[in-house]
Amino acid sequence: MKTFDYVRPTTISGAIAAAAEPGAAYLASGTNLLDLMKGGIARPNRLVDVTRLPGLDRIERLPDGGIRIGALVRNADLAHDADFAKSYPAVAEALLSGASAQLRNAATVGGNLLQRTRCGYFYDPASACNKREPGAGCDARDGENRLHAVLGWSEACIATHPSDFCVPLVALDAVVEIEGRTGRREVAVETLHRLPGDTPERESALEPGDLIVALRLPSEARAFAQHARYLKVRERTSYAFAVVSAAAALRIEQGTIRDARLALGGVAAKPWRARPAEDILAGASPDPAVFRRAAMAALVDAKPSGDNQFKIELAQRILVRALMLAAAGTPQRIPALPASPFSSVPGALHHA
């Protein structure tokens, strides 16, 4: 690990000033950043420790019925907050399907939003990676790429965004509050992350010094609480990133879907909102044929970036399963294996 200066500001304005310098990076819990620094992938000259900034560790119910979550709230605390889990169950389930209990105890809301891709070539300094070193090329294009993107990728980069948390956030129109050199602004989580295009090194809408201070979910998102699930296929039962995941949220009245929210994870450089599929679902009855049609619409623009043709069919099946589970109703308690499509009972079809 390259050495660095360490500063621990006590005000947000002090943090922004310290982090706006070239080569500076914010440190919250560091569960992703320290890993990247140990591997020589991130090489900041200065770490600006934001963990002692006041007022960023609260979960607040807003007067308009929405919820505001401070950027330093830990993933585990958010997932286990009773009001939050009841109101936004797919978000809680996504949080609990990510990482391990130790990491969820440490990792923050802001850090999760900004975690980097898990592309193996990005993580290997001996490989060419346009994201790590613009213009270097992309060894993933002709490499081991069965887990790479099928939507929104470019010749420059086929990496995926690894977050579970962000998938239902995008589906439910979450917004981040950002403090920067020019004041405070708001950005929808859907536009926070960028597709690679010709500049895969630019991963988000953040400018130097920008600090995410809070995340908000609108009160309208509560309307889906009765029919909301997150489903995630992994290569092992627990403690693994998604091969493909889906968040599905429905508002059902008298047997008809009034409103639907859908997003996919593990398929693109950003959490992928599936609006064409939502349009098909609105006004339809919740049955498997409609779900299949919606899933096909969600993936209509997908194309393999390598040995990952299977992810297109897999994503459709996971969307259908997520919709079926959402239509069946949010379980009273998050299942023992959160977001898992697999049963712990051998041979049984899982409908957790």
Binding site: T3, L103, S238, A336
Partner: protein, 167 residues
């Protein structure tokens, strides 16, 4: 750059001068305080061997910068027994053969203590396995580990109930 931090480690106040901000909490415990019970497995947050409790919560100490934890209260495997009396989780690991080579065991035990404090798993073995999935065991002692955690949880709750009665 000289950075001085203060920590409470296993109930004892420790003041440490750091010449370098790169020191992880894991390396501080092992190299500076010579508490080598906490193990360095992968050093990248993937194996759980370095698990300790920080302010009562289990975390991976390899992915924690020591300097960022100034003022924290740390509990390591060296601090869980009372003299010769093992912690109920330690005793349960022995009783259920929840180990073979023992390298992952301090992390497993600290993680289990954290899991029991979190109170989310109850008596469901599937929830215990899921809650312990951040701790790898290359010897594959998982079935004994699950039994040990379930058993220890009952004993810890009995001990706590007893303490409440006598308090």
């Amino acid at each position: 750059m000289n950075l001085s931090i203060g920590l409470t480690v296993n109930g004892v106040r420790r003041d440490v001068e750091l010449e370098d901000p790169r020191v992880t909490l894991l390396d501080l415990l092992r190299e500076r305080l010579h508490l080598t019970g906490t193990k360095k497995g992968c050093d990248r947050g993937q194996c759980g061997a370095c698990t300790v409790l920080v302010d009562g919560r289990r975390i991976n100490s390899c992915l924690a910068l020591a300097v960022s934890h100034d003022g924290a209260d740390i509990l390591t495997i060296e601090g869980v027994a009372r003299g010769d009396q093992l912690h109920p989780v330690q005793a349960a690991f022995i009783a259920h053969d929840g180990l073979q080579c023992g390298f992952c065991t301090p992390g497993q035990i600290m993680s289990a203590i954290g899991l029991i404090r979190e109170g989310q798993a109850g008596d469901d073995p599937e929830r215990v396995r899921e809650g312990m999935s951040g701790n790898l065991c290359r010897c594959g002692a998982y079935s004994g580990i699950t039994e040990a955690v379930l058993d220890a949880q009952v004993i810890v709750s009995l001990v706590e109930a007893d303490q409440r009665r006598t308090a």
